[in-house]
């Protein structure tokens, strides 16, 4: 039995003041280091000895990682922006789907948890995962070797696994502003199932569709099969039912409860997005 009253593990602690300093530390210690942001995931994982880093690099003292700015047709969010920073930012109000997904987070975690931490933990239940997937978000990662950009769906490569190399630091999340004619919706049942949907319509036809699933699944992801079943079709109960079957296929067949709640939730979320589309 672990004692969660204390953090028993020992490590060397660093507090870089710039991104440059941080990536140099990661270049040196990458394999055995972990980046500490809000701590609401990492400190728990360290307490229960799921991870045991030799070096801890705290990025909370790098001011530029907490900025939120509009650049062209995108909103660029610093990786260390907290959930509460996002909720109160005027720039984020044009992404109601993301704000909706943050609603269910407890107040204290809204203050502590960061968007970058949420992405890097790569839990399929992560609050930001499904909205980021349907918003076609992309991230910038920096290392001493240079920088690269990755579309969000290529970040989540497995259960709690990202495609970031050990020496890479996630610095920015880019959110393309959606055309206002698109309808968006988010729905969840606790951490069991989460759906985010973006729909573009023309009359009765679903012209464009993005669907993401998260929750009690291996990894949060887009469900392209379901998207294709809706795109170009007249939007009706039958089309939704077919898409719903494709979505449920993503859930473990033995996980009957989650499959049942998904069948209930998915049509609701898709209808909501459809009704908001213009």
């Amino acid at each position: 039995m672990v004692n969660t009253r204390i953090l028993a593990s020992e490590f060397e602690y660093f507090e870089p003041r710039t991104i440059n300093e941080a990536v140099n530390l990661l270049a040196k210690y990458g394999q055995e280091a972990r980046v500490l942001a809000g701590g609401s995931d990492l400190i728990v994982d360290m307490k229960v000895e799921k991870v045991n880093p030799k070096y801890l690099i705290y990025i909370g003292k790098i001011p530029e990682l907490r900025s939120i700015a509009k650049v062209g047709n995108e909103v660029v969010v610093g990786a260390n922006a907290t959930f509460f920073d996002l909720i109160k930012s005027p720039l984020l109000q044009s992404f109601p789907i993301l704000l909706e997904a943050l609603k269910s987070i407890q107040l204290e975690i809204k203050m502590m948890g960061t968007i970058g931490g949420n992405i890097c933990s790569a839990a399929p239940t992560a609050s930001t995962a499904t909205p980021l997937l349907v918003l076609n978000a992309w991230v910038k990662v920096v290392s001493a070797r240079g920088s690269r950009t990755i579309p969000i769906e290529k970040v989540y490569v497995g259960n709690r696994k990202t495609s970031l190399a050990p020496d890479e630091l996630l610095t920015e999340i880019h959110l393309p502003v959606l055309d206002s004619r698109y309808g968006t919706a988010f729905g969840e049942i606790k951490t069991k199932i989460k759906f985010a949907v973006v729909i573009g319509r023309r009359g009765d036809v679903c012209e464009h569709c993005r669907i993401a699933i998260g929750g009690d699944v291996e990894v949060a992801k887009r469900v392209e099969k379901a998207e294709k079943l809706l795109e170009g079709k007249v939007f009706n109960e039958r089309a939704i039912e077919e898409a719903c079957d494709a979505v449920v296929e993503e859930i473990d067949p033995d996980n009957w409860y989650v499959r049942e709640v998904a069948k209930y939730l998915f049509p609701k979320v898709v209808w909501e997005a459809w009704e908001k589309a213009r």
């Binding site: 969660t4 009253r5 602690y13 500490l36 701590g39 609401s40 400190i43 204290e108 203050m111 502590m112």
Partner: protein, 158 residues
């Protein structure tokens, strides 16, 4: 592990402390500063008993490394009363019978302070939302919700 010097302003008082990087803010408050109002509940971010205000934001002190809050202002339940007079939130908790065993209350009272700073007039739904990170095995929450609502009203009178 090598200790580091940090400065904190705890309940209005400046302190300089030496802490190891793996020391949790909760244990620094309780063991080094003797502020045992803040409680250890689950240690994993589920119960909210360890909530304190860090620069006026409610955060979990059991998941916060003390070194990371160097320079911060911390408010614990001990810091709410002024000149021996309970804070209106505390008054409301007493008046509405919102306290039974009391173990979860320091965390909830501090969260309520943080909540009312952000949202001075929360709806019952918003109070329930904010309470979701706090476990109370005794009260059933009803009187806690009433107390926070009443405190908001009292505080709005100035």
């Amino acid at each position: 592990m090598e200790e580091r010097k940090i400065r904190l302003k705890v309940n209005g008082k400046d302190c300089e402390l030496s802490v190891k990087p793996n020391e949790l803010l909760l244990n620094v408050l309780r063991n080094k500063l003797g502020l045992t109002g803040t409680k250890y509940g689950c240690g994993t971010g589920d119960c909210g008993a360890c909530t304190v205000l860090i620069n006026n934001e409610p955060r979990l002190s059991c998941l916060t490394l003390a070194v990371t809050v160097d320079g911060a202002e911390i408010t614990t339940v001990e810091g709410l009363a002024t000149n021996g007079k309970l804070h209106p939130i505390q008054e409301a908790f007493v008046k509405h019978g919102a306290i039974q065993c009391g173990f979860c209350i320091p965390g909830i009272v501090i969260m309520a302070k943080g909540l009312l700073d952000i949202n001075p007039n929360p709806t019952v739904e918003e109070i329930k939302e904010a309470l979701k990170g706090h476990l109370c095995r005794c009260t059933g929450y009803i009187n806690i919700i009433k107390a926070i609502k009443a405190a908001a009203l009292e505080m709005s009178k100035g």
